[in-house]
């Protein structure tokens, strides 16, 4: 049964309304996409690691050095400045400042990504420890030595 004239008018009106809504919104979306993409493409990188504002170029260069220097697939222990334990933390215990526990989470996640393919480890006897913006203990544990240092970034090898 064909739709009546009134029904057709309402239906066409709704279709046109929906089309207008889409066509009004779409140019803005495309324009924002272009701007967002340009900003993303302009992000500087060091040895293919993007330079995050919070890390800086020098820090990123050090991360690239760590990634290069640590033998393939060997894990890295990351130590950061201690903060309060985040309410988002799902772990019920941990060593403060190590493995992102009681440390700035976003920075830890970025370090974990920048150091791929080296997995993170929380092992205190790990062969490689990265002190990120925090001074290594003095004196260093027996058998450990500073492998590289740049500003507040230190890589210690056992």
């Amino acid at each position: 049964m064909p739709a009546g004239r009134g029904t057709r008018v309402v239906a066409v009106g709704l279709l046109v309304l929906a089309a207008v809504l889409a066509l009004v919104r779409l140019p803005g979306e495309l324009s924002t996409q272009s701007d967002t993409a340009a900003t993303g493409r302009a992000m500087p990188t060091v040895a293919s690691i993007p330079v995050q504002d919070s890390i800086g170029a020098a820090g990123t260069e050090f991360l690239a050095l760590v990634r290069r220097s640590v033998p393939a697939h060997q894990p890295v222990r990351v130590v950061q400045p201690i903060t309060s334990v985040s309410r988002l933390e799902s772990r019920i215990s941990g060593q403060p400042g190590v493995c992102g526990y009681a440390a700035t989470g976003l920075t830890y996640y970025w370090l974990a990504y920048a150091l791929v393919p080296h997995p993170m480890t929380c092992d205190p006897d790990a062969r490689w420890t990265l002190y990120a913006r925090v001074a290594p203990p003095a004196p260093l544990p027996p058998g450990a030595s500073v492998y590289a240092r740049s500003g507040t970034w230190t890589l210690v090898r056992r």
């Binding site: 889409a22 919104r25 993007p50």
Partner: protein, 554 residues
């Protein structure tokens, strides 16, 4: 060289997806679904197969690189899909013996038009996203904390390293998330010979393109080419879909693509009794993809399948098979791994679901509701206009005899929203009197609602043009309407050819006056018999089909 290798890897995924659909339906996907939806579904199926296989191999301790397992298996599936089926091994569905049904759906010419427009739009969107995003490095939170990190570990370590994927002490984010998307990125890393963000961006672009092809083709078959085009434009214009999310290496857009297409395919299957089993196979692939891509995919797939189950009396067996297949392929291996390694969901666990916690966070209910409305994708301004327009559009669709479709859309959206809402309330970290919990919940809602609510938001948005399009077509002729319910016996056997079937040559006249609907011809209920395979279906021709009742044309 790297580009050519990545292209070869992509082609292998596409052909493997073709093989999956060919093997599960016994029909060539480009014929069963039409070239547009067929291509998109092949990509969806290939990505789902790759993800499921990588997960299985990884869980069993094998290599997650293209060699020695993944590539050869995908190659075998691709080959199996390309070789002609010998007649005795082929699975000619009984519908091949029947003439293609003509229901009140769009004419073949309209279907071709809708498919062509969807294909053009899909190519344009894919190229646009690929070009815009290819030079963007991994830079935003969930990219580096979850999706790309996991992909790089799969491709660089070549295995499911327990330090990364199972050791909760190391503090990696969301270790319980499934692996389909990281597996896809890792696959392209393997073909590129190095970590490649550009290849991952192209993979995302292709998934968005596949979404456009499948959604466009299904909506065309459901409501006609014009409503389908308007729907696609509405979905693409949803805030942040193109402007932000299409440029990110995250799972929200892929899971949106899988889940939206699943809902639409099920809507088509539900509202068109002549929709064949091939669409159920597509639904299984899409459900598996949604479940294996992100936790929310379980919700979106589950809600669409449950509502379909409720609304398809007499045809439930097929839906149950879809649920079983999707669960077996995409849910079981990864969740077994997660269970063994105590990777608990951050949403539904002993803490969030405890009575004490729920009592504590229940006062957040109003705040969460208000915030969800505020952050709803496209909810402000014009979005409200669409919501208001939905009421008369739904009334038109119901008047035109599509009440079940309206109920489907409303029920799926309601279920999705209810569960998302409950999730936000349950995961609040303290009572409203706690300022830290308030700040965290506000932030959580601000940065996630616009991403995770895309599926219900898109369904609501496209419902307006789809319902209007159905209203425009009018009610099916009485004879057709009478023939619409499928008897239980018919549900137990393959139903006639899919409405998307475009293998038959001969487009109908432009008016759509093309053939008497077989649905208007009384049919004798057929039972499955062990007799010889039916002869090939005679190709329908406009002349043979005869004139079509005006009521069936748009």
């Amino acid at each position: 060289m790297s580009t050519a290798a990545v292209a070869a890897g992509g082609l292998l995924v596409l052909l493997a997806g073709h093989g999956v659909l060919r093997l599960t339906t016994g029909r060539r996907p480009l014929v069963a679904y039409g070239p547009t939806a067929g291509t998109g579904l092949c990509w969806f199926a290939g990505v789902a197969l790759l993800g499921a296989l990588t997960t299985l191999v990884g869980v069993l301790g094998g290599s997650t690189r293209p060699l020695p397992v993944l590539g050869p298996v995908l190659g075998l599936v691709a080959l199996a899909g390309l070789v002609p089926f010998p007649a005795r091994f082929g699975r000619p569905a009984p519908e091949h013996a029947r003439p293609a049904p003509e229901t009140d759906g769009p004419t073949r010419r309209q279907v071709r038009l809708g498919d062509t427009v969807a294909a053009i739009l899909a190519v344009a969107v894919t190229v646009l996203i690929a070009v815009q995003s290819a030079g963007i490095p991994t830079r935003s939170n969930d990219e580096y904390a979850i999706w790309v990190l996991r992909a790089r570990m799969l491709s660089q370590l070549g295995r499911l390293d327990s330090a990364v994927f199972a050791d909760t002490a190391t503090g990696y984010q969301h270790q319980e998330y499934p692996l389909f998307l990281p597996a896809l990125f890792a696959w392209f890393d393997g073909w590129a010979g190095r970590p490649s963000d550009a290849a991952a961006h192209v993979a995302i672009a292709a998934l968005v393109g596949a979404t456009v092809t499948v959604a466009g083709a299904v909506l065309t078959r459901l409501a006609g080419p014009a409503p389908a085009l308007v729907s696609l434009l509405l979905v693409l214009s949803l805030p942040t879909v193109l402007s932000v999310q299409s440029l990110q290496l995250m799972a929200d857009l892929p899971v949106f693509g899988y889940a939206l297409c699943l809902a639409l395919v099920l809507a088509l299957w539900l509202s068109r009794p002549d929709a064949g089993e091939a669409w159920l196979a597509a639904a299984a692939v899409l459900a598996a993809g949604a479940i294996g891509t992100k936790a929310e995919g379980q919700l979106f797939a589950g809600s669409a399948l449950l509502v379909t189950l409720a609304l398809a009396p007499g045809r439930r067996r097929g839906v149950l098979v879809v649920i079983a297949a999707a669960g077996l392929v995409s849910f079981l291996p990864w969740h077994a791994y997660a269970y063994v390694h105590h990777l608990r969901s951050w949403v539904a666990n002993g803490t969030t679901l405890s009575a004490a916690h729920l009592r504590e966070v229940l006062p957040w209910a109003e705040t969460v509701a208000r915030s969800m409305v505020q952050q709803w994708p496209g909810g402000a301004g014009w979005g409200l206009v669409l919501l208001v327009a939905l009421v008369p559009a739904a009334a038109l669709a119901i008047r035109a005899g599509h009440g079940r479709l309206v109920v489907f859309v409303v029920a799926v959206v309601a279920l999705d929203v209810a569960v998302l809402y409950a999730q936000y309330v349950a995961t609040a970290l303290g009572p409203p009197s706690d300022p830290v919990a308030a700040r965290l919940l506000t932030g959580q809602l601000r940065v996630t609602v616009y991403r995770v609510a895309l599926v219900p938001a898109a369904l609501l948005a496209l419902a307006v043009p789809v319902f209007a399009g159905l209203g425009l077509r009018g009610r099916p002729a009485p004879a057709e309407a009478a023939a619409e319910p499928v008897p239980a016996e018919a549900a137990a056997e393959p139903v006639p050819a899919a409405p998307g079937e475009v293998s038959d040559p001969g487009p109908g006249p432009a008016t759509g006056a093309r053939g008497r609907s077989p649905a208007s011809v009384p049919r004798t209920p057929r039972r499955r018999s062990p007799g010889p395979a039916p002869p090939p279906r005679p190709r329908a021709s406009p002349a043979a089909a005869g004139p079509r009742p005006p009521a069936a044309s748009c």
